[in-house]
């Protein structure tokens, strides 16, 4: 997950008979569900789309450490602190997997990170919302990681081998985080005080819609989806995944004894799905453009980390070079 609007640069999906022989062979391979690997030929637009998507995904893991890092020094018990630290550590690891997968496409990690810091590259809109109470740690685990899993489970079958394999590894850890987040909220709702219950409901009220936005624009406003689906980078439409998320999440919400901030939410017997209200798309596009609650702070924090750390990385390189020269002298 965490890549919700990815440019393909392709206006219209070509039919097989419009393709060059190379393109056609590639598409037939995709259609036959054969994974594309790093050394295989691929259309440049496929390569660039994947670089954009995987880097967005990787950036999201890294920026996503910040809203949780905000509470790691304030976690209320040793057990919760340990859980949160383990989770943040996993996220840094996911970022590393994903940057590696991205690099198999010939992209450079530092260049892509520079794009994040200059505001050119995106990351998931969800991490631009502030974490204002401890309950947000549970809500992020349950709703945000929950939405991520719905997306990522599908991406395990994405057509590019290295990305697909990264997703398989990441999903295992994400599911664990999601259960922990939910259990955290359940403890507050079932064993907590009224103040804690209010905290949980408030967290859900603030994060529900932003979590639904994680699936990206509705299909009719998702011009890049058709090509991504034809290439089987994406396997399912945004709306279908969003619906799946709502359907699986509402029973969990009911078990908590909470509500969602959506007066239009109701079970539709005929469809066998929940109907739900319209997303505030203006807010979605605003946040994606950089005008959300925490966009400025998130990017500034990441940029500062890398700038302040420049001397550390330079020292590591200089020291490694000295060691290498020493080894050469010793060998001579």
């Amino acid at each position: 997950m965490y890549a919700q609007l990815v440019e393909t640069g392709v206006k219209r999906v070509k039919a097989l008979d419009e393709m060059s022989p190379e393109e056609r062979a590639f598409q037939e391979k995709i259609d036959a569900e054969i994974k594309i690997e790093a050394k295989n030929w691929m259309p440049d637009a496929y390569r660039q789309t994947l670089i954009r998507q995987i880097s967005q995904h990787a950036h999201s893991e890294i920026v996503g450490m910040l809203p949780e890092g905000n509470w790691v020094t304030r976690a209320p018990t040793l057990k919760r602190k340990l859980q949160l630290m383990a989770k943040i550590q996993d996220e840094a690891g996911h970022g590393l997997y994903l940057y590696s997968a991205m690099e198999t496409l010939g992209a450079d990690r530092d260049e892509e990170i520079a794009k994040l810091h200059s505001g050119k590259a995106k990351y998931s809109s969800i991490f631009n919302y502030p974490t204002l109470s401890w309950a947000d740690m549970g809500a992020v685990g349950w709703l945000v990681d929950g939405a991520a899993i719905v997306n990522q489970v599908v991406l395990q079958r994405t057509s590019y081998g290295p990305y697909s394999r990264a997703m398989i590894r990441i999903c295992k850890e994400e599911s664990f985080h999601q259960r922990q987040g939910y259990q955290l909220l359940l403890t507050m709702m079932k064993e907590g005080t009224q103040a804690q219950k209010d905290m949980v409901q408030d967290a859900i009220n603030r994060l529900w819609w932003p979590a639904l936005m994680m699936f990206g624009p509705s299909d009719e406003h998702s011009p890049n989806s058709a090509q991504s689906m034809a290439w089987k980078i994406k396997r399912q439409g945004n709306d279908e995944l969003r619906q799946r998320f709502v359907d699986q999440t509402i029973p969990q919400l009911e078990l908590l004894g909470c509500t969602v901030p959506d007066p239009d939410l109701k079970w539709n017997e005929e469809r066998g799905h929940y109907d739900f209200g319209e997303i505030q798309w203006e807010e979605f596009y605003d946040v994606l453009k950089g005008n959300g609650p925490c966009n400025t702070e998130r990017v500034a924090t990441r940029r500062k980390a890398i700038e302040d750390g420049a001397w550390v990385r330079e020292a590591a390189v200089a020291h490694a070079r000295k060691k290498q020269q020493q080894a050469k002298r010793d060998a001579a």
Binding site: M65, L66, T73, A86, A92, W134, M188, G192, A305, D308
Partner: protein
């Protein structure tokens, strides 16, 4: 003082130092100089908070006054905290963070090594588990001391400044008190003099490879983390760390 009280004090010292060092590492989240360091800092912090929980669990059992490890971590004021002054110092730049970590790891390793053969089985068990983790911490922080000390001119200068800033806190690492002497004599605790000389040898070795001078022994300066006489940094750290349990005393998290 009887031995049980000595042991409680000792467990609080071990647990509090690990917890406060872990808390400082948490502050680095999202701000480290490289992604690999994000992972490493959180990993080390996670180990230390886990160790703190083990020590505080045991301390709480011995106290037997109805408090558990969380109560000890979240409801004691700074005057009751028993951590080393070194670990409560602010993170500063990466040189300060690395020097603090290394000086602590080099001490911690020796202490745990000695404690893994403690005559108190529970102490020996916790120490043996922690020693595996701290062996890794020490290797890592020692390598960073070397990289930064023997890296660029800037990194070397920053390391010199960092050492100057935190060295005086090493006074606690090389001077045990009566509690520690008594526990060592009883075969329960680590022998402070042995810890001190092994610590200094390790520091001299790593600083030597890092082209950094070892300063003269630090002198006593009228504070003692062991007796709850802290620097002004700890109160603020605890205010942040303890906010939720203090604000919602009846809550279950």
């Amino acid at each position: 003082m009887n031995q049980r009280e000595d042991l409680i004090q000792y467990l609080l010292r071990l647990g509090d130092s690990a917890l406060i060092q872990g808390q400082r590492l948490c502050e680095w989240c999202g701000k480290a100089p490289a992604l690999e360091e994000e992972l490493a800092l959180m990993n080390v912090g996670l180990d230390l908070v886990g160790q703190a929980r083990n020590w505080l669990d045991y301390a709480a059992e011995l106290l037997a006054d109805g408090r558990d490890a969380d109560d000890l971590a979240y409801r004691r004021d700074e005057r009751a905290y028993r951590n080393l002054l070194l670990v409560e110092q602010p993170n500063g730049d990466y040189a300060v963070t690395i020097v603090k970590q290394f000086l602590y790891d080099a001490w911690h390793f020796q202490v745990l090594h000695a404690l893994s053969s403690s005559s108190d089985e529970r102490v020996a068990g916790i120490a043996a588990k922690a020693l595996k983790e701290v062996t890794y911490h020490l290797r890592r922080s020692g390598e960073w001391v070397e990289r930064l000390g023997d890296g660029t001119d800037e990194s070397h200068q920053r390391m010199l400044a960092a050492i100057e800033q935190v060295w005086r806190f090493s006074v606690e690492l090389v001077n045990g008190d009566d509690v520690e002497q008594r526990l060592a004599a009883a075969g329960i605790g680590a022998q402070p003099d042995e810890i001190a000389s092994a610590w200094l040898a390790k520091v001299a070795d790593v600083f030597g490879r890092a082209t950094l001078p070892v300063p003269p022994a630090a002198s006593y300066f009228y504070l003692s983390g062991r007796r709850g006489l802290h620097s002004e940094h700890l109160g603020i750290l605890l205010a942040e760390m303890q906010f939720l349990p203090r604000a919602y005393p009846d809550a279950t998290w």
